[in-house]
């Protein structure tokens, strides 16, 4: 069962694994962020535990709007023409706050403990987004 002598120093073949991970990272980055750029017509969708609680077009906002999400933890989401950010959360990880402001299509803020997804979608002039 034991291999006679495990290789403990990096070999040239290891770089193949590194390369594979880099290719995968770039590949997923292209799939996710490649189609971005359409700066106008961004729709923000906030879902909480699978249900949509807010859906608004950023350019339609004339002033800042706050959305409060109440569950096990409480989150305050601020929406404005310039972007969307989580201003307050009492969750343990604070990942949603660390994400900062998102303003481009394809970006998102995710809160795992409270299962909140704040998603920005572009190219949405009509109500043609179907969220699975």
């Amino acid at each position: 069962m034991q291999s006679s002598s495990p290789k403990l120093r990096p070999t040239a073949w290891d770089s193949l694994i590194v390369l594979a991970v880099i290719v995968l990272a770039i590949g997923t980055a292209i799939v996710f962020y490649g189609g971005l750029g359409g700066g106008d017509h961004i729709t923000v969708t906030i879902t909480h535990r699978g249900e949509t609680v807010e859906k608004v077009m950023l350019e339609a906002l004339n002033e800042e709007k706050t959305v409060t999400i109440d569950g096990t933890y409480q989150l305050t989401v601020v929406l404005s023409r310039d972007g969307v950010w989580v201003s307050e959360s009492n969750c343990p990880s604070q990942d949603c706050l660390h994400t900062g402001t998102v303003s481009r299509a394809g970006q998102s803020i995710v809160c795992l403990p409270e299962q909140v997804v704040i998603r920005l979608d572009g190219k949405s002039d009509g109500p043609d987004i179907i969220l699975g």
């Binding site: 073949w13 290891d14 995968l24 990272a25 997923t28 660390h98």
Partner: protein, 171 residues
Amino acid sequence: MQLKTRQLALCAILTALALGLSVMENLFPVTAAIPLPGVKLGLANIVTLFALYELGAAPALTILVARCLLGSLFAGNASALLFSLMGGVLAMLVMIALKRWQKLSVFGVSIGGAAAHNIGQIGAAVITLGDTAVLGYLPILLGVSLITGTLTGFITALLVRAMQNLHLSHS
């Protein structure tokens, strides 16, 4: 059989060590220093990788599952179990497969495992959220796994080398 008792004891010690490391990592999260969601050093993976090299695939998988079950019990969080199991088991399977490919060193195996761990956890996040938005984190997490994978690989290499002189696990 003496060897069996020895293996069982070693498995128990390693499980406890992995648990201790993951609890410690939760107390001092890296995300406090680097504001990237979901980034972890994966210190417990050192134990898993070490077990894979010293004891073999089956004991390593047993230690991993025991760590995930007990870890989520400690955290008191059922959804944490899905995350750690999906990340951990996927990483384990990838590492078992990569180790069989004799050309790779512990570094290649470790990096592959770290990347697989992140893919598994993102998979768990997609399942719990029912939303694919989290996939956007994958490129960053994969990039970070190159660093954390190298680090855990390096530490495991040191440990395995030290054990070669001790002959604790296979006498």
